[in-house]
C-alpha cells in the first residue's frame, strides 16, 4: 500500500477548510487540536490559513475518555489549553485520524465544560472508517482503507510521517 504524502494532504486540507469556512460564513474561528497528532495538524492549518496565535487551543481528552475502566489513565496527561472563554466561538476541532468517533465525542464533551460554543466544525487528516458513533468529519484530508487489525499512526511534529502497523 502506498502511503499518501502528508504535507500535500495538509495543504489540500487547509484549502478545503478555507472553502468550507467561507461557505459557512465563519469568521474568526478558534482552531482546537486534540493531543497529540491533532495539535500538529492544527499547527499546519494555522500557518496555512494565517490565523493568529490566540486563535488556537489544545485539548487533552484524557479526563473524558470512555475507556478509562479498560485502559486507565493515560500516563502523560498534559492538560488542555484554551482561551479564557469559548462562549459563542466557532470552533474548528482538529484531529489526525478519525476511527470510532469516541475521541471526538469526548472532545465535544470537554469543550462544553469550557462553555457553549456557537458551532463546532470537525476536521480530520485521515479517515480510516470503522465508525462506532454517528460522528463524521466536515472536512477530511483523505480516506484510507486498512486491512483488519491495521492501525495508522501519525509521527511528528517535523516532519509529519505516517506509519501503518
Amino acid at each position: 500500500m502506498t502511503l499518501p504524502n502528508i504535507e500535500q494532504i495538509c495543504q489540500q486540507l487547509a484549502h478545503d477548510l478555507a472553502d468550507y469556512l467561507q461557505q459557512q460564513n465563519i469568521h474568526n474561528p478558534l482552531l482546537v487540536g486534540i493531543r497529540t497528532g491533532g495539535v500538529w495538524v492544527a499547527e499546519r492549518l494555522q500557518s496555512q490559513l494565517q490565523l493568529s496565535d490566540d486563535a488556537t487551543g489544545v485539548l487533552d481528552i484524557s479526563f473524558y475518555r470512555d475507556d478509562f475502566t479498560q485502559h486507565g489513565l493515560h500516563p502523560q496527561v498534559k492538560g488542555s489549553e484554551l482561551p479564557e472563554s469559548i462562549e459563542d466561538r466557532h470552533i474548528i476541532l482538529v484531529d489526525d485520524v478519525i476511527m470510532s468517533g469516541r475521541t471526538i465525542r469526548a472532545a465535544m464533551h470537554e469543550l462544553f465544560d469550557f462553555g457553549r460554543p456557537a458551532s463546532i466544525t470537525l476536521v480530520c487528516l485521515l479517515d480510516i472508517g470503522r465508525r462506532e458513533l454517528p460522528i463524521q468529519p466536515d472536512v477530511c484530508g483523505t480516506r484510507l482503507d486498512l486491512a483488519d487489525g491495521q492501525l495508522v499512526k501519525l509521527g511528528g511534529p517535523n516532519p509529519l510521517t505516517l506509519t501503518i502497523a
Binding site: D60, S62, F63, Y64, F68, T69, Q70, H71, G72, L73, P75, Q76, V77, K78, G79, S80, E81, H109, E110, F112, D113, F114, G115
Partner: protein
C-alpha cells in the same frame, strides 16, 4: 505478608493501584502525579470544574480519626472527578478490635465500593487494609499514625515545583514536631526522590525522632543554622498535647526558639518560600506577618490539595481497574 509498603501500592507493571506512601516510589511516578495534578489545576480554573473521569465510581471516605479539612478536600476531589462519595466518620472506639475494622471494610466492599480514602490513628493501617483486607479496592492513605500522609506531601511538592520552578537542587527545612509527623516523613521521602539537594529537620531533641538520618534528613537544633541558605521552609503544626507529655515546656518557649518570625526567615534565601500544612497556630509555629507575608504560599497549598488528590485518586483507580481487567482477560 512482608511486602514493602511501596510494593503493595503498585501493579505488576509499576503503576499506582493504591497510594499508601511516597517512600520507594520512583522519581518518574512522583513526577507523573505532579504532572497529572498540574492538569487538574487547569480544570479547576474553569466554570465547570468537574470532569467525568470517575463517573459511576463509589469512593468512601473512611475517617477513623476526625479531620474535617482533609476529609473535605478528598470529598471535593472525588466530586470533581464525578465519583459518588460516602463519608463515614468512625470513632476509633467502635473499631478498637481489628475484627470490627475488617467487618466494616468487608461490608463496604460488598456494597461495590471502588475506593477507600483512609485516615487512621495507627501507623500502617492503610497498608494493612490494602494488603490484607480489601486488596481489590483502591486505598488512598489520608494519614496513618505517624507513618505517612502522602497526598499532603505531594501537594507540598507541587507547591514547591510551581513556586520554586523545581525541586531538584533545593534546600528544604522542615521545622517543628517531626517525631509525631506523618507529613514530615512523607515529605522527606518525596523530596529525596525528587532530587532536593538537602532535607533538614529542625526542632528540639524531644521532637526529632531517633535515627532520622536514616531517612536522609539532617537534624538541626536551632533555626539560625538550620535555615541558612534554605529555598523552602516548611513549618509543621504543633499539637497542644505535646506540652502535657513532657516533650516541651511551653508554647512560648517553642515560639521563641523555633517560631518563624521575619527575623528568623532572614536566615533563609531571600526568595525562600514558607509553607504550612495547616491549620496554623499563629504565634506558636509562625507569626502572622510571615504567614500572611509575601513569601508565604500557604493558601496556594490548599488549592493544590484538591488537584493532587484528584490526580492520585484517578491514577490509583486507573491502576486498580486495569489490573482487574487484565485478571479477567
Amino acid at each position: 505478608m512482608t511486602t514493602h509498603p511501596s510494593q503493595v501500592q503498585l501493579t505488576e507493571d509499576g503503576r499506582l493501584k493504591h497510594f499508601l506512601t511516597t517512600e520507594g516510589l520512583s522519581k518518574a511516578l512522583l513526577t507523573e502525579i505532579l504532572d497529572t495534578a498540574d492538569s487538574f489545576i487547569s480544570t479547576q480554573e474553569r466554570g465547570v470544574k468537574k470532569v467525568p473521569l470517575l463517573r459511576g465510581k463509589t469512593v468512601v471516605n473512611l475517617f477513623f480519626e476526625n479531620s474535617t479539612r482533609t476529609r473535605s478536600t478528598f470529598e471535593l476531589a472525588a466530586k470533581r472527578l464525578s465519583a459518588d462519595i460516602l463519608n463515614l466518620d468512625i470513632a476509633k472506639s467502635a473499631t478498637a478490635k481489628g475484627e470490627t475494622l475488617m467487618d466494616t471494610l468487608w461490608n463496604l466492599e460488598a456494597m461495590y465500593s471502588d475506593m477507600f480514602v483512609v485516615r487512621h490513628a495507627d501507623s500502617g493501617a492503610a497498608h494493612f487494609i490494602a494488603e490484607q483486607v480489601t486488596p481489590n479496592v483502591a486505598i488512598i492513605n489520608a494519614g496513618d499514625g505517624r507513618h505517612a500522609h502522602p497526598t499532603q506531601a505531594m501537594l507540598d511538592m507541587l507547591t514547591i515545583r510551581r513556586h520554586q520552578h523545581s525541586i531538584e537542587g533545593k534546600v528544604v527545612a522542615i521545622v517543628g514536631d517531626i517525631l509525631h509527623s506523618r507529613v514530615a516523613r512523607s515529605q522527606i521521602h518525596a523530596l529525596r526522590t525528587l532530587g532536593a539537594a538537602e532535607v533538614r529537620v529542625i526542632g528540639p531533641g524531644t521532637l526529632l525522632p531517633r535515627d532520622i538520618e536514616a531517612l536522609g534528613a539532617k537534624p538541626f537544633y536551632n533555626m539560625k543554622d538550620g535555615l541558612r541558605d534554605c529555598d523552602v521552609v516548611i513549618m509543621l503544626r504543633l499539637q497542644k498535647e505535646r506540652m502535657n507529655n513532657a516533650l516541651l515546656p511551653s508554647e512560648s518557649e517553642f515560639f521563641k526558639l523555633y517560631g518563624l518570625t521575619t527575623e528568623k526567615l532572614a536566615f533563609a534565601k531571600p526568595n525562600a518560600i514558607v509553607m504550612h500544612p495547616g491549620p496554623i497556630n499563629r504565634g506558636v509555629e509562625i507569626e502572622s506577618a510571615v504567614a500572611d507575608g509575601p513569601q508565604s504560599v500557604i493558601l496556594h497549598q490548599v488549592s493544590y490539595g484538591i488537584a493532587v488528590r484528584m490526580a492520585v485518586m484517578s491514577m490509583a483507580m486507573s491502576g486498580q481497574q486495569t489490573q482487574a481487567t487484565e485478571e479477567q482477560a
